[in-house]
Structures are given as structure tokens and as C-alpha cells.
Symmetry: C2
């Protein structure tokens, strides 16, 4: 029976970084994967495939350059699912190689199978016709989440999809109902609309992406509608059913809203919530409890109530980002082996690969108002920037929130090309407690979108002078 | 006769920002432009047109996505100059409107004509059939530069071009000799090669873009050659002549190198050096001298030897960037009217819109070695990054130079997609005297190119641990 210093369950971003960090500390590490590929949802069903689809859709349709080049220069008139998937698969394969290489290079044992705790230090790994037992001093649980699939939704992976199975679409539908205006729903709505699919998005709250700054969410909703997406906000789905005889309309799914409206479409994507996958881990044999959505609770060091078992990534809930999962994994491994760590940076950014791209770091206007922190907002619009013009992006904007008294940067909110990259400039300045003066006096390359920081800063300072 | 608090000569980036800054301080400002459009070389012949051409060329040929999509998805088989220029003109027109609006909004008098000092405070503005006289307390000279056009080069703007007239190309040539491996030469070489023009670039030194970090320049040269560009480094042009009878070869220009080689091509771009345009300003009437390339010398406040006359932008030489010119303009106006200013940030980035894009901030490896500052280099390659894969950019790299002892960031060097934007993250960290630890612990959006900072930081720290 093999004994390890650390056994990691799950090869997603959180598990990978935990395993690699421990290996770099000279520890004997195994990592267990139940699926037949490494990488978890980030690589195989979630983050990367949706981003690859998005890039392919934007490029192949010429979207995002249309202001500049007009419809004339659409790359392909007919974009097929095969075009999209082949690009996606290429990226996924490469990522898988990168991960496998990293495991090899760091002498991490990759073990295929289903992990099940038999005791506090004892783990059984079950494969089809065999199983093995391992012991370890420490464990990291990074098993992630899966789409929530309520019983009353008749998923069939042909017309009614969850966010995993939507990748199995065998052709582009004419129409799609997206239920749920969270990150996944908004990202797929944008991809599908870009590809010419008629999209209706239903969200129970009055705003999609509830955590966003209101002005950014409003701009985003405006652009979704301009793309032809129908938004049904503040509406809940009462029932979803297949339509067998579609009378030649092509509609094969009907969603009935609580308000009585019937929505019909060729396909439906149900993307409301995700849930943990802890029930089969044998956590009861270690005395670890999970909540009704199979998620684990951890302390500030990512320890569960069994202190030698850590949990990281989506399974511990908010913020459930690949980026934060990686850092949690690293930090858990460091703590497990007594390496001093900084606490998790509070300043993590959110990136949403919608159409257009959105990113934020720090506080929203509402949060600052609720906390009675006096601020001013400085705004730059991409159409004021030469680079915005060059890219044909005239809809983007960047907003910085500035403390009215000490002029520190309290939040940065961006929608438009490059948002997920640009946000890190503001994040760095915030991390060093920088003030708006930094942006005023900094020299930015010309022409860049980064100049938006200077334009926004000047706008904010002009407003502050009138306060 | 009108009297102003400030008269600015030249409506390029430096002059614009000087005028706007003074107007915002409540001053009465006029700005004088001798050409029939505002904006200077940045808008009309230099920065913006070349960047617009570049964007159009990259998009229309699908370059940069080729790794991902292959040749299949080229947007247009035949790209015409008309396609390219129409995009460029659209961007230029918009920028012109932005500038005119800014002058209007700030009540800046825009006066067309040739400025000529008649005395220390007295300026004549000459138009075709009339002239007017102005007086002002302060002046800012931001007249920029023009391409150097030595007498022995038979420029004809049909086959032999300078970097201004190359925009008048009426069709894409089959081949082009580019003389001069500075920023302009390298940018046009890349654009032309992207468009399928057979390019030979001649540079007298052994490296193009001599100010770059050597490793980045080497990578750039490698990629230029991979694009099919022939580099003739360490070679000087002896003579250039038109070929009248080209024997059906299409060649209409011949450049003879000092080494005896004859290069023939359909066209030639001569892009060696730029020179000021001060000779006709009547500076002798104010006692201001210029050098043999018609450039002005200023003190740290951008004052010429006549202290009420400031000079900013390309006319004062290095670094001759639109970005630094703007900051110089702002600073000159502030100093002129007694507003306290910070000194010019030393940390200005360089952005080169070549194919691929290049940017740097801080010191190069050679500068650090010469100064005996012990450093380690951390490197990230885009093909290690999910976002690099998604963008189809597998050639990019980012390098951070880390002080071996205190771990401060001493320089950042980047080649690849988004380089000119990404550099500002490192620039911000350097401005706050940040160390490599910032990048190690920072949470970056996933997937982004900005993650290159974390990958490079981890690489650098691993090396430091072995020191």
C-alpha cells in the first residue's frame, strides 16, 4: 500500500496547483481523477471550451470588427459546429498536455479512479474491475461542481441541455432559450447570438450577473439586446417540456414562465446553479459534513473540520473561479506542509467572457454607497480612444471609483475588448494603495486601450474638483 | 492684435495636450497648425495610419489566427490598398473630430497658417494671401519632425517612398526594400509582409530596434524571417536608383549595398531618421538655437534657452513617442502657469506595433549588466498559457527582470499579442517599487495573457532559489 505526503482528489485548477506546490516542496504526491481526462470542468466542460467557442465564433463571424469592416468581411458565411469544436478541441488537447507534463515533471503520481475515504488517512481508489488503497498524511479535496439538474427539467441532451451537454450540440439551432442569467448563461447566450442563433434569456432577478456594478450590467444588457437577444428579466420558469409535433415551426421545446408566457425554441440551455459532488467520497468516514448542495465548509486555511483534509476550488463555493481556485490550491498545500503563506488576496478580479467581455476588481458603486464610503466615478469610453477606434470597439467603457477624500482607487469596472486583461492594471494600483494620481501622471503606450485609465482618471478628477 | 496667455505651435499630441492643459487652467489659448488638418504626424502620417493599416492587414489576412484556423479562414483572398485605406481613413476622421471637439470645448482658438516669430512675444501667422499678428506671454513649440530625405535618394513617391509618402501607395507591390530597421521600418516591413509583399529590410547595425532587450530583438528577428522577410543586418546602402527597363521582372528600384550586393524590388521605403522642422519658425528672432537636425534643446521643465518658449514632443528628440509627447505638453503648460508638477515619470513604456507587437518598460538585460546590477530573468511563453492557445498566439513571450537581492522588478519585456497593453501591469508594479512577490500571489483572471506575469514570476523565483 502506497503512502503519500499528500493525496489530491480532482485534477481541476485547484487540485493541480495544490499537487504541484506540494511536489515543489519535495513532498510525495498523488492526484486522483475519476474522469478519463485530467483538467476538471475548467478544461473539459467549462471555462476553456466555452472560451474557445467564443473566440472561434467571434473570429469566424467577424463580430467585434463589424463596426470597422462591415458585414462584407465575415470570415465564413456558414459557421458549423464542427468548425467551432475543432478549434476548441485543439486548445483542450494542448492544455491537457501541459497538465500531464506538469505532473510528470514534478513526479506526481496520477491515479485514475473514484476516490473513497475508508478512514481518516485511508483512501480507496476504485476503477472498473479493480481498486487500490492509499494512505496519506494530508488530503486536498478539489472535486469541483457539476451543473444542477433538477428532476422536473426533462434534460435529453438533444434539445434540452445543461451547460456540460450543450457542448454536444451537433448543429447550430435556429433558436435557443437560455434559463439563468449567471456567468454561464450569459456567456453562452452571447456565443449563440454571435453565431446567429435567436436567443431568449430568462433570469429570475431583475438584472443578469447580479454581482456586477449596475452601470456595467445595464450596458451589458443593452448590448445583449442590440445583438438581438430577448431578455426576460424578473421572470421565473414554471415548467419546461418537449414539443413533439412542432407544426413545421422548428420549435421543439416550450418553457412556460410563471407570468403565463410561453416561450418556444428549437433548443433550451438550463444554466441555473451548480452543485458539489461530495456524496460518494466517503467523507462520513472522516467526519466531514457537506451542505445540501454537496459543498464543503473550510476555515481561512482551507481546512475542513478534519484538519488534515483541505478543500479548495468550486466545491467550497464563492467565488468559484478558476483563478481563485488555483491560488487556494497553492495556499492549502503550503499550509499543509508548514510553509508560511500570505492570506488570499482580497483583490481578485472577476472576468466574464461574454460578448462584450466584462471584468471588475474591488467594490461596486452600490457596495460603496451601502457602506457610506464617499466616492466619485471616472469614466472613459473606448470611442474616445484611438485604440478603440482601431479595434472597431466603440461600445467599451472603463470606470474607476475614486475615494472622494484620499483619492484611493476603490474599484475598477470594465466592459469591452480586453477587459479581462486591462483590469489587472487597476488591480495592481489598488494592491499598492495607489491613488488616482498614478493614472493621471502615468505614461501609457499610444494607442492602447490602457489609456482608458488616464482618460477615466482625468474625468474623475474633474468631477472631484467640483465636489 | 489678439493677445493670448499661451500660443501653441503644432497640433500634434504634444501641442494638443499643452493647449488643453492651459485652457483647463483658465488661460486664453491659441493653437496654430500649418497643414490643412490638425493632429500632426501622429494622426495623419505616422502613428495612427500605420496602426490602422496594421490592424486592417492582420484582420483581413487572418494573420495571428492562422495557428488556430489555418489558411482556410483568410477573410479576403485579395486585399487591396483601398480596403486598407478606407479603414485607416475612418479612424483618422474620428480622431480628427475628437481633437476638434476638444479644442472647441476648451475654447481654444485654432488658427491655420505658418507661424513665424517676429520678436520674443510676437508671432506672425502666414496664410496664402494674408497674415495676422499675435502676441502671447508664453509659447509652446510642438512642431514635430518629418522624415529625413537625403539628397542622394531619388524619392519619387511612386516607387521610392519616405514613411510619409508610403501611405500614397496606389496598389500593393510584389516586393519592397525597407531601408532602416528602426520602429517605422520594422512596422511597415511587418505590415507589408503580412499582406504578402516580399520584403527585404536593410539595417546598418547588427540588430533592428537597437534599444530593445537583446532576447526580444532576437525573437522578433526570428519571427520576421519566418514571415518571409529577408534581413540584411550590418549592411549599409551605398546607392539607390530607379530601374527604367525592368526586363519584365517587375523590379523598378535597385539598392546597392556597401558590400556590393544589388537588391532589386518593385518599391523601396527609405525610413532612416527623422528631422525637426524649425528652420522657418523665426527662432533667431527670439534667440533660440536648433541643432543640425533642426531639433531644440530644453531644460527639465521643457524650456528652451528663451524661458518663456517651451518645446515638447518629437522636436526635442528622445524618446519621441506620442505618449511621452502628450505628457511633456501637459507638463510644459503646467510649468508655464506656475502649477506644481511632478517630474516626467522615468518609467515610460515603449510600444512597437510590429508583427508581432512588442513593448518594454524599465531596463534591458544589457543595461543591468553594464550597470553591474545583479538580476534574474523570469520568462513565460504564451504557449504555456491557455489564453495564448485560445488566441492562436504561440510565439509570444514575457520576461521580467528581478533584482537578485531585493527582488524588485527592474524591467519588463514582452513580444506577442497585447504586448503594448500588458506592459502597463508591470509598469504599475515597478512604479510602486513592487517585488516579484506581487505577481506570485496576485490572482489573475483565467484565461488571460496577464497570467504570463505569474508564470514568469514563478520561473524567476525558481531560478533565484538556485542562486
Amino acid at each position: 500500500m502506497m503512502h503519500y505526503d499528500l493525496v489530491v482528489i480532482g485534477t481541476g485548477p485547484a487540485g493541480q496547483k495544490a499537487a504541484i506546490q506540494a511536489a515543489k516542496l519535495g513532498k510525495r504526491v498523488a492526484i486522483i481523477e475519476k474522469n478519463n481526462v485530467v483538467g476538471g470542468a475548467a478544461i473539459n466542460t467549462g471555462t476553456i471550451p466555452s472560451k474557445a467557442l467564443r473566440e472561434a465564433a467571434l473570429h469566424l463571424t467577424g463580430m467585434g470588427k463589424r463596426d470597422l469592416f462591415g458585414g462584407r468581411h465575415r470570415v465564413k458565411r456558414q459557421v458549423t459546429i464542427a468548425d467551432l469544436i475543432s478549434v476548441s478541441q485543439q486548445v483542450i488537447n494542448n492544455e491537457l498536455n501541459v497538465i500531464r507534463d506538469a505532473f510528470d515533471r514534478n513526479n506526481i503520481d496520477l491515479i485514475w479512479g473514484w476516490a473513497h475515504f475508508e478512514g481518516p488517512q485511508l483512501l480507496q481508489v476504485q476503477r472498473h474491475h479493480e481498486s487500490e488503497l492509499l494512505t496519506a498524511d494530508k488530503f486536498v479535496v478539489g472535486v469541483g461542481t457539476k451543473p444542477a439538474k433538477p428532476d422536473h427539467i426533462p434534460f435529453n441532451d438533444q434539445t434540452i441541455f445543461c451547460s456540460d451537454s450543450v457542448l454536444k450540440l451537433d448543429r447550430l439551432p435556429k433558436s435557443m432559450i437560455v434559463v439563468g442569467g449567471g456567468v454561464i448563461g450569459c456567456e453562452y447566450a452571447g456565443i449563440m447570438a454571435t453565431l446567429g442563433v435567436r436567443v431568449t434569456l430568462v433570469e429570475g432577478r431583475n438584472q443578469v450577473l447580479g454581482f456586477l456594478d449596475y452601470e456595467i450590467a445595464e450596458a451589458f444588457q443593452y448590448h445583449m439586446r442590440r445583438m438581438g437577444i430577448t431578455l426576460r428579466l424578473g421572470e421565473k420558469v414554471d415548467s419546461i417540456k418537449k414539443i413533439e409535433n412542432n407544426n413545421g415551426s422548428g420549435a421543439r421545446v416550450q418553457a412556460t414562465l410563471e407570468s403565463g408566457k410561453h416561450l418556444k425554441a428549437e433548443t433550451l440551455l438550463y444554466s441555473v446553479g451548480r452543485q458539489g459532488v461530495c456524496a460518494d467520497l466517503g467523507l462520513e468516514n472522516v467526519g466531514i459534513e457537506y451542505d445540501d448542495r454537496e459543498r464543503l465548509t473550510v476555515n481561512e486555511n482551507y481546512q475542513t473540520n478534519a484538519e488534515h483534509v483541505y478543500a479548495v476550488g468550486d466545491v467550497i463555493g464563492f467565488p468559484a473561479l478558476a483563478s481563485t481556485a488555483m491560488e487556494q490550491g497553492r495556499m492549502a498545500a503550503c499550509h499543509a506542509f508548514g510553509v508560511e503563506i500570505h492570506s488570499m488576496p482580497e483583490l481578485f478580479p472577476f472576468g466574464i467572457y461574454a460578448v462584450p467581455e466584462i471584468s471588475m476588481v474591488g467594490k461596486t458603486e452600490k457596495q460603496l454607497t451601502d457602506a457610506a464610503i464617499p466616492y466619485e466615478a471616472g469614466i472613459a469610453r473606448y470611442d474616445e480612444l484611438a485604440r478603440g477606434q482601431l479595434l472597431g470597439d466603440t461600445i467599451g467603457m472603463l470606470k474607476i471609483l475614486i475615494h472622494q477624500e484620499d483619492h484611493r482607487i476603490l474599484g475598477v469596472h470594465c466592459i469591452g475588448s480586453g477587459a479581462t486583461e486591462l483590469i489587472h492594471i487597476g488591480q495592481a494600483v489598488m494592491a499598492f494603495n495607489g491613488t488616482v494620481d498614478f493614472f493621471i501622471h502615468n505614461v501609457f503606450n499610444f494607442p492602447t486601450l490602457a489609456e482608458a485609465y488616464k482618460v477615466a482618471a482625468l474625468n474623475g478628477v474633474n468631477k472631484l474638483q467640483h465636489v
